[in-house]
Symmetry: C2
Subunit: 503 residues, 2 copies
C-alpha cells in the first residue's frame, strides 16, 4: 500500500509542478512581461492548466485514491498520509464533479465578461455588462448544483475558497458585524475633521519608497533568500514552492501608505506561505487552510500590527531618514492618526479598516441573493446603491464607482468576497490570543522585534499549511468558533479613542 | 486531410506552449529567482520537459505525421505545410530514436558531471572529472549510434545543432580557416604593443552601463514591446514567442565592452528571433535555421558591425555623454583600436575575433576524436595543451584554464562547439552580401541608421525562421556553400591595418 501512496504522491507532485509553472508564468505576466507577450502567454497558461486539470481528474488518480484511502485513515486522522489523501480527494472530487463542458463555458464566458466589464466600467454602463453577469451567475448556479455541497446553493461556491464554511454561519457572523460597524461609522462621520491624513500626501521618490518596503518586510521576517519583492499594478503574493514565495507592491508617488501597507499586507500572506512545513512541498498540503485564514494573516500584519501605535513608533524614524522633507517634522501621533483616518468612501480597495467590511458585506449579500434567485441582475445596481447609502452612508454617483468597480464577478468569482471579511474577523481573534501568549508584544513591536509574533503565528498557524482545516485551526488556536466580537471590540476601542466618542 | 493537419498543428502548438513555459522558468532562474528557489525549479522544469517529450514522441503524433506527410509534400516543397511537416517529422524522429532509458541516463550522468566539473575546475583536477567525461563521451556515442545520421559517428551529434552539416565539410572549412588564422595571430603577437586597450579599463557606473546597453539595442532595432533586457551571470537570448524575445547582459564595472558587446551580441540573436514570420508562431518553424545561422547574426552585429569603425564613430558620442570621465578625451580611433586589440589568451569566452575560432577548432577536433575513438579521455589534456601552444601560441598553466574551462562537455553537449565558428564564417559571407546590396551601409552605420541592414537581414534570413534549411539559406543568400574565405579576408584586412603588417 505504501507503494500506491508513493505513486499517488508522485502524481500530485507533478500536478504541483505544473501549478508552480503556471504561477511563474502569471507572476512574470504581472511584473516583467513585455506588452506584446500577452497572447502567447495565454496559450501557454491554457495548455499547462489544462494538463494539470487532466491529471487531477484522471482515472489513475481516482484509482489510487480509492486504493489508499482506508490505509491512510488508519494511520490516524492527524497523520500526514490521512491529511494528504483528504485534501487530494477533495481537489480531485471537486474537479471531477464539474463537467468539462461547464468548465470550458465558464472560461469562455468570463473571458468575454472581463472584456465587457472593462468597457462597461469605463462608460459606467451597467446595462452593457448585465447580460454577461446573468451568464456568470447562471453558470455558477450550475456549478454549485454539480458540486452538491451543503444545503444552500451558495454553500458550494463559498466552499471553494473557504472549505467547510456555511452560508448561514457567515450570514450570522456578518449580521453581528454590521450591527457593530454601522454605529462606529456614524460616530466617525459625525467627527469627520477629528483626524487628518494630510501629512501622507507629501511626495516621496518612488525608488526610495520601494527600498523602504524591502527594508520593512525584511524586518518583519520575510526571507529574501526564499522570495523577492517586485512592483506590479495590483499587489499580490504567489507561491512557487515553500522556498520561493514572491510578493509585489505598487507605488504612488504622493501617497506612501499605498506601497507600504500593500507590502506589509502581502508580507503577511508570504510569512504564512514561507512558514509552511517543508515536508508539504509538492503536496496538496502546501497551501493555506483557506482564503479567510490567509487573509487573517495579511490583515493582522497590515492593520493590527501595521496601523498600531507601536509599529508606527518603530516605523517613523525609518521614514524620517529616507524622506526627511516629507516626514522630518511629523510626530508619531500625527502619523498614527493619519494612517487610521476613516470615513465613508465609494471604492472597496481604498476603504479604511472600519468601512471596508461593509463593502464586503454588501457584495456577499448581493451575490448570494443572485445565485439563490432572490435578486435579479437587473435589480442589482439599485440594491447596491441602497445598501451603500444605508450602511456605508454614501451613495455611488454612478455604477462605475458602484456595482461595476470590482473584477471578481466578471472573472466568474462568486463566493470569494466573504473570505476578505472572514479574514478580518479571524485576524482579531488570532491577535487577541497572540497578545495573551506574548505579554511583551506591544513593547517588542515598538522596538522592531517582530520575531516573537512571527514565531507564534508560525507555530500556531503557518506550519500546518492545509493539513488542518480552517475550522479546526480556529478552534485550536482561539478555543472557539468564528466570532466577530474581538474584531468589533478592537475597532470600537481604537476608533473611539481616535475620534473621541464613547465606545 | 486538412483536419488531420490541423490536429497535428494543434499538438505541436501545445508542445510549443510547454517549451515556452520551460523557457520562462529558465529565464527566471537566471535573472530573478531567489537563491533557494532552485530545487523546486528543477522539479517543475523536469515535469514540463518530460511532458513535452512525451507528447512529441506520442503515437498520436506519429500517426498524424504518417497521415499528412504525402498531402503536405504535394502542396509544394516550399509550402508552409510541407516545411511544417518536415521539421515536425525531424523533431519527432530524433526524439523517438533515442531510447528513453538513454535519455534518462544522460540526464543523470550530466547532472553528476556538472557537479564534478565545478569541483574539478576549482581545484584544476582533471583526473576527478575524467570518469565523468568518459561516461558523457560513451553515452553520446550511443546516442549517435541510435540516431544513425550520416556516415561519421560525429555527424549525428553535429546534426542536432547544425542540421544537415557534415563532419567532413566542417573539417575542410576549418582547415582552411586555421591555415589563414595562424599567420595572422603570429603577426599580431609580433606587434603586441601596437594596439592598446587601456582606455577601456576606466570605471563606469553599472546602472549607467545597463542604460547604455538598452539605448544601443533599441537603436539597433530590438523591439522592447516584444522583449526586455535584464542582467544575468552569463548573457543569453531566449524566445517565448515571436512577440516575447528576451535578452540579458552582464556588467563589469571596470570594463565597459563586457556589457556592451554582450548586449549587442544577444541583440543580434534577438533581431533574428523577433523577425521570424508571425505565422510560424506555435509551430516547429518558429526557430532559427540552425545554431550556426543564429550565431552568424549575433556575431555579425557584435563584430562586423559593432567592432567596425562606423559603429564606433556613432557610439563614442553616446559614451562621452554617459561617461564623461572615462571617455571624454578618448578619440574615435583610440576607441576603435582598443575594442579590437587581439592576442593569444587562455579563455575562449574572453578571446578576440582572431583567436576565438582557434579555441573552437581545438574543441571540435578533440570532441570529434573522442567520440570517434581516435583520442582517449586520459590523453585529452595533453592534446589540448599541445594544440593551444601550436595554434593560439600560449600553453595553459593548468587544466582549469585549459580543458576544464567550458561547461559544454559536463552538460553533455558534444557537437555544439563548431556552430560558434560556423556562425563566424557565415557572418562574413552574409555581411559581404549585405554590403553589395546596401552600397551606403557603412555611412548609414556611422549615422546610427541600422534599419537598412536590419531590414535586409530580416528579409533575406530572419523571416524564414526554420522553414528554409541552413544550407539552402546560405545558397540562396550568398549563391554558394559555406566558405571561410570572406571571413579570413575580413580579418586579414582589418588586422593588417590595425597592427601594421602586410595582409
Amino acid at each position: 500500500m505504501e507503494d500506491r501512496f508513493k505513486l499517488l504522491a508522485e502524481r500530485f507532485a507533478e500536478i504541483a509542478d505544473l501549478n508552480a509553472a503556471s504561477a511563474v508564468l502569471q507572476w512574470d505576466q504581472e511584473t516583467y512581461m513585455p506588452v506584446q507577450g500577452c497572447a502567447a502567454r495565454s496559450n501557454a497558461l491554457a495548455t499547462i492548466q489544462t494538463e494539470a486539470h487532466r491529471r487531477l481528474v484522471s482515472d489513475e488518480v481516482a484509482g489510487l485514491l480509492d486504493a489508499v484511502e482506508g490505509w491512510a485513515r488508519a494511520r490516524g486522522e492527524d497523520s500526514f498520509e490521512a491529511a494528504f489523501v483528504r485534501t487530494a480527494r477533495r481537489d480531485h472530487a471537486r474537479a471531477r464533479k464539474v463537467p468539462g463542458e461547464l468548465v470550458a463555458e465558464l472560461a469562455r464566458t468570463t473571458s468575454l465578461a472581463l472584456e465587457a466589464w472593462q468597457a462597461a466600467r469605463a462608460r459606467s454602463d451597467f446595462a452593457a455588462f448585465a447580460p454577461h453577469l446573468e451568464k456568470v451567475v447562471s453558470l455558477n448556479r450550475r456549478k454549485a448544483e454539480a458540486l452538491e455541497t451543503g444545503e444552500r446553493l451558495y454553500d458550494a461556491l463559498l466552499d471553494e475558497y473557504e472549505p467547510g464554511a456555511k452560508t448561514s454561519e457567515v450570514e450570522a457572523a456578518f449580521r453581528v458585524l454590521r450591527e457593530g460597524l454601522v454605529p462606529i461609522v456614524r460616530e466617525v462621520v459625525a467627527r469627520e475633521g477629528a483626524v487628518s491624513s494630510a501629512v501622507l500626501n507629501a511626495e516621496c521618490a518612488e525608488a526610495e519608497q520601494f527600498e523602504l518596503c524591502k527594508e520593512v518586510v525584511a524586518r518583519l521576517g520575510y526571507d529574501f533568500e526564499r522570495g523577492r519583492l517586485d512592483r506590479s499594478a495590483h499587489a499580490f503574493t504567489t507561491t512557487f514552492s515553500v522556498d520561493d514565495v514572491r510578493i509585489t507592491t505598487r507605488v504612488k508617488k504622493d501617497f506612501l501608505p499605498s506601497a507600504l501597507y500593500a507590502a506589509v499586507h502581502e508580507c503577511g500572506h508570504a510569512l504564512y506561505a514561507q512558514g509552511i512545513d517543508k515536508r508539504f512541498e509538492r503536496t496538496p498540503l502546501n497551501d493555506g487552510a483557506s482564503l479567510g485564514v490567509h487573509e487573517s494573516q495579511s490583515r493582522l500584519w497590515e492593520n493590527l500590527v501595521g496601523r498600531g501605535r507601536p509599529f508606527c513608533a518603530w516605523l517613523l524614524p525609518l521614514l524620517r531618514k529616507r524622506f526627511p522633507d516629507a516626514f522630518g517634522r511629523c510626530s508619531q501621533e500625527e502619523f498614527y492618526r493619519a494612517v487610521n483616518k476613516a470615513g465613508p468612501s465609494l471604492i472597496r480597495v481604498e476603504a479604511d479598516e472600519v468601512t471596508y467590511n461593509l463593502h464586503v458585506l454588501l457584495r456577499f449579500e448581493l451575490e448570494s441573493a443572485l445565485v439563490e434567485g432572490r435578486l435579479k441582475v437587473s435589480d442589482a445596481p439599485e440594491a447596491w446603491n441602497a445598501r451603500m447609502s444605508d450602511t456605508v452612508g454614501i451613495a455611488p454617483p454612478d455604477d462605475a464607482r458602484g456595482i461595476l468597480q470590482d473584477i471578481h464577478w466578471a472573472a466568474g468569482l462568486i463566493g470569494y468576497f466573504p473570505t476578505y471579511t472572514l479574514g478580518n474577523i479571524m485576524s482579531a481573534q488570532f491577535y487577541a490570543k497572540a497578545r495573551e501568549a506574548l505579554p511583551e508584544l506591544e513593547a517588542q513591536l515598538a522596538r522592531g522585534e517582530f520575531a516573537p509574533l512571527k514565531g507564534w503565528l508560525g507555530e500556531k498557524l503557518h506550519v500546518h499549511g492545509r493539513k488542518v482545516s480552517a475550522g479546526r485551526l480556529l478552534q485550536r488556536v482561539v478555543n472557539g468558533p468564528l466570532d466577530s466580537k474581538p474584531f468589533l471590540d478592537y475597532l470600537q476601542r481604537k476608533y473611539a479613542e481616535l475620534y473621541g466618542f464613547q465606545p
